[in-house]
Every structure is written in structure tokens, then in C-alpha cells.
């Protein structure tokens, strides 16, 4: 197979990974007030862990010079305990709500969005370079 747009395999993998990260962050924001999860406890904040994956089909088998792509290794639960707030409708009882800081989540979301944008810029540039190279013959 001819590869005309070289070097965008890693960017494509990064785009996929950043999308997963954005999905997890939006899940955190959506569940910021969820006091009953599937297990009956308040929702626990989650975050993604990225890892590099060798693209062995692109470079040599397992060599350090092979292009390294990123992939989501796992989605971890944050271990911070839920906040206890007073429940006015139920005097004397404390309500456990998830300890999710919406500002922190938004900052994370902006970071993920900008990383996505940077990888998109790489893809666009690779395409522009290929098209400019093709215009040599004109």
C-alpha cells in the first residue's frame, strides 16, 4: 500500500485517545450531582491514563525508531472521598455528593480540546505538504 500521508498514524491514534478523554470528562461533569450510582454510592470521578503503543507495522519490529502512538491504557477511578453537605429538606442528615470541582473539569476539558486541535493541525499540515509536493510538476 502506498503511504502518501506519512507520520499521521500517531496523530490519528492521538485524536482517538483525546476523544475518549473528552468523553470521560463530560461524564464527570454530567454526574457532578449524582448521589446514587449503580452501586448505590455517590458517583466517583474518573480519569483516563494514556500510554504509548509501538506502531510495529510502520517501523521495524519493536525498534526504538518505530513511530510511537498513544492509546488509552485504562480509565481509573479517583479515590477522593465524597463531600458531605447538609440536606435542608432532611434536618440532621448529611447528604454525600461527589467531590467534583467543575472548574477543574473544565480546565481538563480545555486541555483535551486543545490537544485534539494540535493533532488536527498536524494532519492538515501533512495533507497540505503532500498537495504542495504534488504541485512541483505544474
Amino acid at each position: 500500500m502506498i503511504t502518501l500521508l506519512t507520520g499521521i498514524a500517531s496523530s490519528s491514534a492521538a485524536l482517538t485517545a483525546e476523544r475518549v478523554r473528552m468523553e470521560v470528562i463530560s461524564q464527570n461533569i454530567a454526574n457532578a450531582n449524582t448521589t446514587r450510582g449503580l452501586d448505590g454510592k455517590p458517583y466517583q470521578r474518573q480519569h483516563v491514563v494514556f500510554e504509548t503503543a509501538l506502531r510495529q507495522q510502520l517501523g521495524g519490529a519493536g525498534t526504538s525508531a518505530a513511530p510511537q502512538a498513544v492509546q488509552v491504557s485504562r480509565i481509573e477511578k479517583d479515590n477522593r472521598p465524597p463531600r458531605l453537605i447538609a440536606d435542608p429538606s432532611n434536618p440532621g442528615a448529611m447528604q454525600a455528593v461527589p467531590d467534583i470541582n467543575i472548574h477543574e473539569e473544565m480546565a481538563d476539558y480545555i486541555t483535551a480540546s486543545r490537544s485534539f486541535e494540535a493533532n488536527l493541525a498536524v494532519v492538515k499540515n501533512a495533507r497540505a505538504m503532500a498537495m504542495q509536493t504534488l504541485s512541483i510538476g505544474k
Binding site: I2, L5, I8, S12, R127, L134
Partner: protein, 129 residues
């Protein structure tokens, strides 16, 4: 750095047309061999085969056909990716877009090769004999 500095080596004064005319009019200076010397070489030395040697590997036509097939395969892959996005399968939008762009670039490459081939053919047809 001047990008067209490499052109200067073609237009230095001592390789210009004036120097060439001078060298032709002065056989001793250019080291030209007299025709009597050439005749001693005999007929076999002068009759070099003019037909091009046969290529050992695949012909250019085969190569071109292979390229057209690959471009077609890329177009088909892009179509599959787009229909995967539209039918809600596990294909993300950027994968479909990248597949489409790859198909586009390879198609452009094929068009450029075809343009060059046609251009050289027309150049040959215009040649005065």
C-alpha cells in the same frame, strides 16, 4: 540562502555558447579525434545497438496499473469509513476524514502522473522530423 544558486553553475561564462563555438573551431584545443582515427576502429565499434535494452522487472504499464488499483482501494476504504460513520458503527469521524484525504491525495498523484505522460506524448507528437 539563495534557492536558485544552483542554476549559476549552468550560466558561468566558460561554459557558454561562445566557448563552445571556440572549442569546435579548434580541434586541438578540445581534444577532438580525427575521422581517420575513428575509421580504424572498424564497423563493429560504430554500430552500437540503438534499441533500448529490455527492462528486467515489471514494465511501466504494470506499475501504472498497480497504482490505479491502489488508488481504487483507497477510495473504497474511504467509502467504507464514511458509511461506517453514517451507519453508527465504531468508526470515528477523524478516521473517516483522514481516509478521505488519503484517497484524495493519492488520486491527485495519479492525475499528476497521467498529466505528465500525456504532456510528454504530445511533446513527441509535435516534434519536427
Amino acid at each position: 540562502m539563495n534557492p536558485i544558486s544552483a542554476i549559476r553553475q549552468f550560466i558561468t561564462p566558460d561554459t557558454g555558447s561562445a566557448a563552445l563555438v571556440k572549442a569546435m573551431s579548434d580541434p586541438a584545443a578540445s581534444g577532438a579525434v580525427p575521422f581517420s582515427e575513428l575509421q580504424k576502429l572498424g564497423p563493429t565499434a560504430l554500430q552500437q545497438p540503438l534499441s533500448p535494452s529490455q527492462p528486467s522487472g515489471a514494465s511501466f504499464g504494470n506499475l501504472l496499473g498497480q497504482m490505479v488499483n491502489e488508488v481504487g482501494a483507497k477510495q473504497a476504504a474511504a467509502g467504507d469509513a464514511v458509511s461506517g460513520v453514517l451507519s453508527g458503527q465504531n468508526v470515528s469521524l477523524h478516521q473517516a476524514m483522514i481516509a478521505m484525504q488519503e484517497a484524495n491525495v493519492s488520486f491527485q498523484l495519479m492525475v499528476e502522473v497521467r498529466n505528465k505522460l500525456l504532456e510528454s506524448y504530445q511533446e513527441l507528437m509535435r516534434m519536427q522530423i
